[in-house]
């Protein structure tokens, strides 16, 4: 895994990265993570979400509240949210 996401990150890339990350958290999964499936069903609920959010923060280089995962509870929705959030946070600090 690369340490930080590239500046030109696309929604697709972000989704793929999230799918891989969720897969790491649930190593005994027999099928790839479904971007439309609720993350809670993968055990990424209130408990594991802090570490997950920390990973996302580190990779995207922006601040991400764990509650974002609650509000955008599938990979697809989270990716869309994060991409927008990243653009916004970068614009704010630029």
């Amino acid at each position: 895994m690369e340490n930080t996401a590239s500046d030109t990150l696309t929604l697709d890339e972000l989704e793929r990265w999230l799918v891989d990350r969720v897969g790491e958290y649930v190593p005994d999964l027999d099928a790839p993570v479904d971007p439309q499936q609720e993350l809670g069903e993968y055990g990424l609920d209130s408990v594991a979400v802090v570490a997950f959010a920390a990973d996302v923060e580190d990779w995207l280089g922006i601040q991400v509240e764990p509650t974002a995962v609650w509000d955008h509870p599938t990979v697809a929705r989270l990716a869309a949210y994060l991409l927008a959030e990243r653009e916004q946070q970068r614009a704010a600090t630029a």
């Binding site: 958290y25 408990v47 802090v50 570490a51 959010a53 920390a54 280089g61 609650w70």
Partner: protein, 561 residues
């Protein structure tokens, strides 16, 4: 002022015939009847004012003051402190949700002495908040609640109950909301009390439950947002967990007082028990546990003001460690007392068994030791070394732990669910270096070992594999090591922040600090060779004239001007 005033009052009330007369409270305990006289005295004195933020007309400004107050009550009777202090817990969510008409209205009721209960737990659901089955469904502009909250402190006495209820049938972290139920305003027959539960300790408290049967509550009963309940509760718990440990400190004060009297009075084989080296070392170890517990609690209370963003971990550490430290302290005092720890009718000593029974609940409610440790364990990856460090915005820890520092105003909107830094443990390197420059009585050697242990912990945290679900046993162990490292760092920070106290009896030659560090190192699995000598010294301190009040800053901690 208010802390020492209350402590003095409680002492007066503890005389024969007073509302805190130990005989009266023992009788309530025996009969399992509510200590109404003691709670009324506290109401009259104005303790409820300290549960209400200043903005709403109360006097809640500082958590270190809340600690001082609850500790003073708990030092005389833990059951009363649990029964009365519960209102602080019950209201926390309402204050944390921000200003609202509900907050203003609740403030008026609390100031008038109405108890407030906090209903999170449900029968058979235990600590798992997401499994809650009390539901709230919309009903016109309001809501209808159904289900049971049990066991709940003050569920029957409290006119208000703050409950977490499922508002989305599917549940999940956004499926719950908080409601403040005014039982008096619900339609007749829709709220039923569940009978008082007989308990091992705090027997006279109102430990009961409440059942909602399609109980209609108005729209303004909703606290915060629909779906925001879990987040709100997780944030409120950070405050209440920090406040709760004052109960442990008070129980510890009470036990040390009894232990000290016994050591001085008891004669064995022609000499005082106090002259038995082993007895002294056991007493000293008990003192060290109490002072370390105090250092951690004080740090947590100040952290709530200065670094609320970090309180999710600080509160978990504090609630896991402090009741454990004090429970161990009580066990040591119990060993010293021998038969008197077991015989309930012995004048002067009979109260000990009650303290020990009462205190057990502190490590169970408001999140058990394990629940808190597990919360910390799941946060560890967010604290791993080498994470892009967030620049600290506030003052350094050695500044805000100074006894006479005026803490920043409580800002509950800064509470979060993910820690991004740990200002206390993060300062360990600096604190150890500062100590080496001016080593008090060999504390620097102990501190250097703590620094090594912390380095090793960092390596292990960095190697943690992410995982969904509850933490593995190995991760729980790491969390426990984290707690001990944090406790040691807190002790060092309190030391560094308070040079004005360095010539006080417990502080001279770094005495309490050495005891605290020795305990932390023991917790980390090493046996510092100097431990026994330190505990012997602390035992002597307890028996000296300065031992009447074992506390870092003098009991009660004096905070407000």
């Amino acid at each position: 002022m208010s802390t020492s005033e209350l402590a003095a009052e409680v002492d007066l009330w503890s005389r024969p015939g007073g509302p805190f007369d130990p005989a009266l409270l023992a009788a309530h305990d025996e009969a399992e009847t509510f200590p109404a006289q003691a709670c009324a005295a506290l109401d009259q004195w104005g303790l409820p004012d300290h549960y209400v933020p200043g903005r709403h007309g109360g006097r809640l400004e500082r958590l270190d003051e809340v600690h001082g107050l609850l500790r003073a009550v708990a030092a005389r009777d833990l059951t009363v402190a649990v029964a009365h202090g519960k209102t602080f817990l019950g209201t926390a969510s309402v204050w944390a949700a921000g200003d609202s008409a509900a907050a203003a209205s609740l403030a008026r009721h609390v100031l008038a002495g109405e108890p407030v209960a906090w209903g999170l737990t449900e029968p058979d659901r235990g600590s798992d908040l997401l499994s809650g089955e009390v539901t709230a469904v919309r009903d016109g502009s309001g809501w209808r609640l159904s289900g049971r909250k049990w066991p709940v402190n003050n569920a029957t006495r409290g006119r208000f109950v703050c409950v977490l209820a499922r508002t989305d049938p599917g549940g999940g972290p956004r499926g719950f909301s908080v409601f403040l139920v005014d039982k008096d305003a619900t339609p007749r027959g829709t709220v039923r009390h569940l009978p008082k539960v007989p308990t091992h300790g705090i027997r006279s408290a109102d430990i009961s439950g409440v059942e909602f049967r399609d109980a209609r509550v108005p729209a303004h009963a909703l606290i915060g947002t629909v779906g925001g309940g879990l987040e709100l509760v997780l944030k409120s718990l950070q405050l209440t967990r920090v406040a709760c440990v004052a109960l442990s400190l008070g129980a510890g004060d009470h036990a040390l007082e009894i232990g000290r009297d016994f050591l001085a009075e008891r004669r064995l084989h022609g000499r005082r028990l106090a002259d038995l080296p082993h007895a002294r070392a056991v007493a000293g170890r008990a003192v060290a546990r109490q002072l370390l517990a105090e250092a951690v609690s004080f740090t947590a209370a100040r952290a709530a003001h200065e670094v609320p963003e970090e309180l999710s971990t600080v509160s978990a550490i504090t609630k896991a460690l402090v009741p454990t430290l004090v429970q161990g302290q009580l066990r040591l005092v119990g060993e010293l007392l021998g038969a008197r720890s077991f015989l309930t009718g012995v004048d002067g000593y009979g109260g000990f068994a009650k303290i020990e029974r009462d205190h057990q609940v502190v490590g169970i409610f408001d999140g058990s030791t394990w629940v808190n440790r597990s919360a910390l364990a799941t946060s560890l990856p967010a604290l791993r070394p080498g994470r892009r460090p967030r620049p600290g915005t506030g003052r350094p820890v050695r500044e805000w732990l100074r006894a006479d520092h005026e803490p920043a105003a409580l800002d509950l909107s800064r509470l979060g669910v993910m820690p991004r830094r740990d200002s206390v443990l993060g300062a360990l390197g600096e604190l150890v270096a500062a100590l080496t420059a001016e080593p008090p009585g060999g504390a620097d050697r102990l501190a250097a070992r703590l620094l090594d242990a912390h380095g090793d912990l960092g390596t292990r945290i960095a190697a943690l594999r992410p995982a969904a679900g509850l933490p593995a046993t190995a991760t729980m162990r790491l969390a426990e090591r984290y707690e001990w490292c944090f406790a040691g760092a807190a002790a060092l920070a309190v030391w560094a922040a308070n040079p004005q106290a360095h010539d006080r009896p417990a502080w001279r030659e770094g005495l309490w600090l050495r005891g605290a560090l020795a305990l932390a190192l023991e917790g980390l699995g090493t046996r510092p060779p100097e431990a026994n000598a330190v505990f012997d010294e602390l035992g002597r301190l307890l028996l000296s004239d300065d031992g009447a009040r074992v506390s870092l800053f003098g009991t009660p901690v004096e905070v407000s001007a």
